[in-house]
């Protein structure tokens, strides 16, 4: 494959720069930042001011804004390709020496850069606020807090890739947004409850048969719950393995598979897409 990382990087930088000027990033980004930092501030203020509280403060603060870890990537990537098509800029872009794979990867990278630039500094600032109130926690707590962010970012990548796929398939930005939100967010989450109801009605004795595990693993938001478990394991002092249908490592593998699968499908579809 004739792939140039340089071209993809140039596209990513352009996307990044263009996004900085968009209202939706300013609005959603500000809501996330305000929500997270205010949560950390309030939780820290009302905590027992002990370093032991660090993990619970971070777990609760992240839970408060967890919806943004899904909304942010979807709203930033639902129109990546369809917008290029509707404003006709796709013709100028693809008339340059760039492959369609570079365009896809560049755009993905651009949105990812934006998300990284929001989440990592804000999470770090949140950590500092918590440390300021509660004192310095042990290294393991800090490592788990950053592992949480790592999982959230992996989940966000899944939603970027998934929304990008819809931005290739659909013809309008509105359809792409609605499809990404309904299917990506609600639709994929429905499989596991359906299998649970099915198991209950059919009297399946095993709590989580193989198809229930797959139904759970298919949703990135379920798997992003692994991030919460990384912090919860520390809080509860016991692994949360038996509470969830799949383990943390299985959740992480599921996220990686979901990301790769949606990204490959998006690339293949865009490669043969007719741009009339």
């Amino acid at each position: 494959m004739n792939f140039s990382i340089y071209s993809a990087w140039e596209i990513a930088k352009k996307e990044f720069y263009e996004y900085l000027k968009t209202k939706r990033l300013i609005i959603i980004g500000s809501l996330y930042i305000a929500g997270f930092l205010i949560s950390v501030g309030i939780l820290s203020y009302y905590s027992s001011h002990s370093p032991e509280d660090f993990s619970s403060i971070m777990a609760s603060a992240h839970s408060t804004v967890s919806i943004f870890y899904i909304i942010l990537p979807i709203t930033l990537s639902y129109d990546l390709i369809v917008r290029e098509r509707s404003r006709k800029s796709i013709y100028l872009l693809l008339s340059k020496p760039v492959s369609r794979e570079e365009v896809i990867f560049g755009k993905f990278l651009g949105v990812l850069m934006i998300i990284l630039c929001i989440i990592i500094p804000i999470a770090t600032l949140g950590h500092l606020i918590a440390i300021l109130y509660c004192g310095f926690p042990d290294i393991e707590s800090i490592a788990r807090a950053y592992a949480y962010i790592g999982v959230v970012i992996l989940g966000a990548e899944c939603y970027i890739s998934f929304s990008m796929l819809f931005s290739i398939i659909t013809k309008t930005t509105a359809t792409s947004l609605i499809s990404s939100l309904i299917i990506g967010w609600f639709g994929l989450n429905m499989f596991y409850p359906i299998t649970t109801i099915f198991n209950f009605l059919s009297g399946v004795s095993s709590k989580n048969p193989w198809y229930s595990k797959i139904a759970y693993a298919i949703s990135p938001s379920n798997n992003m719950g692994a991030a919460q478990r990384i912090l919860a394991d520390k809080l509860m002092g016991i692994p949360t393995q038996n509470i969830y249908p799949i383990s943390i490592s299985q959740s992480l593998i599921s996220l990686v598979i979901f990301l790769l699968a949606t990204f490959i499908v998006a690339s293949l579809m865009f490669r043969r897409k007719e741009l009339n």
């Binding site: 352009k14 006709k88 800029s89 796709i90 013709y91 100028l92 020496p97 007719e274 741009l275």
Partner: protein, 308 residues
């Protein structure tokens, strides 16, 4: 050397055949017009050449390379201006050009100079830091020309470059293109505007319903037009049989008719028109008005696109 070679190219959309077994060859340095009515298949052909869509059968090559397999390499040497032009509206003209220049891997110092030179050329220097969303259609079209030249292309592919522009903006764009082709760059211009083609190009391919109906040099078409003669209309106060007979006797007069006090005939050239005038006066006629109408490229175009 052939810059563009198209062989047996076919593209269908359901029942509609947009391009039907098209064969075309554009030589280096040619100023080539792709002429046809709306929906003739011009844009479809160009979209295949640019790899925006894929042909059902046939082959298209640019610089001897297959447009599907080697699209990325080919596009390094092409400047493209689409019919429907879209920029990144939140970016300025300079930023848009800078992005495109980066995709060609042009080094920073060279890039800056090139962008400023191009903006100067298309008279957008004073608006270089304005967002493209604030640009008029004509300004966007000029910016479109600038972006097509960012890589010093060997082939320019322009699809309806003056589409939707007011007369003044069209004139400016045509002048810009004329200046460009003077430098020897090969141009593949799609248009449905005959006067535009006549002013800019030296070769024309006429396409209709996806099929090539004629490919020739403009000068040959012009000679053909000349060969078809001139239609002359002479308003005469006292037309009678003597006058008509004397006009008929003039060598080079064909299809003589009398209509509403006017003698209408097809004559070979202007010399024959003068002889017809003399013959009328000698026969006692009183001429009040003489009109000459030379057939133009439009007539040939209409004839070809109607017949086929």
């Amino acid at each position: 050397m052939a810059i563009v070679e198209i062989e047996g190219l076919t593209k269908k959309y359901g029942e509609l055949t947009a391009v039907n077994n098209l064969n075309l060859r554009i030589e280096e340095g040619e100023i080539f017009a792709f002429l046809g009515p709306n929906g003739a298949g011009k844009t479809t052909t160009m979209n295949i050449l640019m790899r925006f869509i894929f042909p059902d059968s046939g082959e298209a090559k640019i610089f001897g390379r297959d447009v599907i397999k080697d699209g990325k390499i080919i596009r390094k040497k092409i400047g493209f201006l689409p019919e429907e032009l879209g920029f990144y509206d939140t970016l300025t003209a300079y930023e848009n050009l800078d992005f495109y220049a980066r995709l060609f891997g042009i080094p920073k110092t060279e890039r800056e100079k090139k962008i400023l030179d191009l903006l100067e050329m298309v008279k957008l220097m004073d608006r270089k830091d304005s967002r493209v969303s604030e640009y008029s259609h004509g300004m966007k079209q000029r910016l479109g020309i600038a972006q097509s030249l960012i890589n010093d292309p060997e082939l320019l592919v322009y699809d309806e470059p003056t589409s939707g522009l007011d007369p003044r903006a069209s004139y400016e764009i045509r002048n810009l293109i004329k200046e460009l082709v003077k430098e020897g760059t090969t141009l593949f211009l799609s248009s449905h505007l005959l006067h535009e083609v006549q002013q800019i190009c030296n070769t024309v391919a006429i396409i209709n319903k996806g099929k090539l109906v004629r490919k020739d040099e403009i000068k040959n078409l012009v000679n053909e037009i000349k060969g078809r003669g001139i239609v002359v209309k002479i308003k005469c106060l006292n037309i009678n049989e003597d006058i008509i007979e004397s006009v008929k006797k003039v060598n080079g007069v064909e299809d003589l008719k009398v209509l509403k006090g006017m003698l209408i005939a097809r004559v070979k050239d202007e010399r024959v028109t003068a002889e017809v005038n003399s013959a009328i006066v000698k026969a006692g006629g009183k001429i009040t008005k003489v009109e000459e109408k030379t057939p133009n490229l439009e007539e040939i175009f209409l004839k070809l696109t109607e017949e086929k």
